[in-house]
């Protein structure tokens, strides 16, 4: 009877086993094998070239540039997104009239498809678009042909857009974190004569550490994989200034069909993401609590 029930249990669980094996584990192994070959779509012969693709990648200036851009993207967005999201959350944590309304409004960009956001902003950021006009009005000196056509501003404007889009989402995560802080802590703080800032600094922030860690890790993983924005808005240009790691994989793998080479690039990105997440865990010295 027990064995029979076990067997049925595995049957119930089989959808995930199958999905995991076919659509995650197999591709992971397969692309690693691919990365050791020179497999290209239209050429019939495939050879083992060992780490050849990996060494070629590091002398490929396009790949190195794409890595650099990915790093700029991650390092340049995460602090802003996190701080802004926290600010929103603190602002919208107390009860007051209209709280739900503002929460919903701030969250709205996050539920909108990235493609739609990218389309909207490719117009707003172009010459004569509202963001461009606003920048002119307040006396900034925006590039004459719009933000996306200058190699100095293209990447930063897409980063800005991402911060705008993601803040509302992480705000909700922070709100969830804020609710887990017991009120007694604040009461104790008030009795000890702590100011609002001190309460925030010594109670709220430390208590939010696990959520913050979670947000930073998730956000780095996501930001490292930025693709749709680039595809819709700049296609990697101008002068490769928005050419990111994943875009490199897309171009070499699915445009030029250099499957082996693209898989190697994908694995390097994977290694970087895994390493970065590990370092973040260690740095913040907190366990996984999600």
């Amino acid at each position: 009877m027990n064995r029979y029930r076990r067997y049925k249990g595995w049957l119930l669980f089989s959808p995930w086993i199958l999905t995991f094996l076919i659509f995650w584990l197999f591709p992971l192994v397969y692309s690693f094998i691919l990365s050791l070959t020179d497999y290209r779509l239209l050429s019939p012969d495939v050879d083992w070239i060992g780490l050849g693709n990996y060494t070629r990648l590091f002398s490929d200036s396009d790949f190195v540039a794409s890595l650099k851009n990915s790093f700029i993207f991650v390092i340049g967005t995460i602090p802003f997104t996190t701080v802004i999201a926290l600010f929103f959350a603190v602002l919208l944590n107390e009860r007051f009239r209209g709280r739900t309304f503002f929460r919903a409004a701030y969250f709205m960009p996050s539920i909108t498809a990235m493609v739609v956001i990218a389309l909207i902003f490719s117009n707003l950021l172009a010459r004569g678009g509202y963001v461009h006009l606003l920048a002119q009005m307040i006396g900034l000196d925006p590039p004459a042909n719009g933000f996306l056509l200058s190699e100095k501003t293209a990447l930063f404007s897409i980063m800005g857009m991402d911060i705008w889009m993601a803040s509302g989402y992480y705000m909700l995560l922070f709100l969830g974190g804020l609710q887990t802080i017991p009120n007694e802590l604040y009461e104790a703080g008030r009795i000890a004569g702590a100011s609002r800032w001190q309460q925030f600094r010594y109670i709220t922030l430390p208590m939010l550490k696990p959520v913050t860690l979670f947000i930073i890790v998730i956000n780095s993983i996501k930001s490292f994989q930025v693709f749709v924005e680039i595809f819709v808005m700049t296609k990697g240009g101008p002068l490769n200034s928005t050419f990111t790691g994943v875009y490199f994989v897309y171009e070499t793998g699915l445009r030029q069909f250099d499957f082996g080479y693209a898989s190697a690039a994908a694995y390097i990105l994977f290694a970087i993401i895994a390493l970065a997440s590990l370092i973040q865990f260690k740095l913040l010295k907190t366990g996984w609590t999600a």
Binding site: R6, P15, M108, A113, M114, F227, A262, A266
Partner: protein, 261 residues
Amino acid sequence: MMTFRRILKYFILGVIFVIMVFPLFWMFALSLKSSGGGLTLENFTYIFSANKFGRYLFNSALVGLVVTAGNILFCFMCGYALARRRVIGEKIWFYTVLIVLMVPVHIVIIPIYILMNKLGMYDSYAALILPWLVNPIGIFLIRQYVSTLPVSLEEAARIDGAGEMRILFKIVMPLCRPALAILAIQVFMTNWNSFLFPFILTSSEQYRTLPVALALLLGYQSINWSQLMAGSVVAVIPILAVFLVFQKQIIAGITAGAFKQ
């Protein structure tokens, strides 16, 4: 003093509100603008008649609903099996959650692309649906929820002679409704907005979903901005409606950490 603080707070909230909402407002406004400058619905009629938006809308809805239904069923089955210790190695299965969260999709997309081609499923509904029918985050959401339900109900039913299927779907599943609702909404929203997989695994208009259609339309000479924004509105409205109706569940779901964008 208090009132000054309040005014200041509302002022800050208002400024942020404008920044957060203006781009979407602009999208709506432009989609309703006629070429002469007045208000019109002609951009919508144009994209539906000349650009097969009806088809894309149908595809997005079909894929979204099937994937959502699949997740309700399969995440429930898997989550239940885990919760009732019918499957061993829970820790290992928890690591698959981490893998799915951490592995960048572009690393699996080339093999999946090759696989779909070999299976003859490239450019079909199967390619859009099969990989997403169950997700580990959903499984653990259900697992968590089922563990809070008392086992006694199931045991009582078993003593009454109810079969496994009956217990599972007639007794436990209805009890899980709140968790399943959160799961369904999140899966639907994520799927509705997804771009990369549909973009790479399909090519014909027959299987094109809204986000893919929008990204490709930007490159066409024959469509103007108002029409493009009308298309965007079509893609946004269903999600906005879902969001406004199910706000509470959505926020609850995200704060439970069960949302992978």
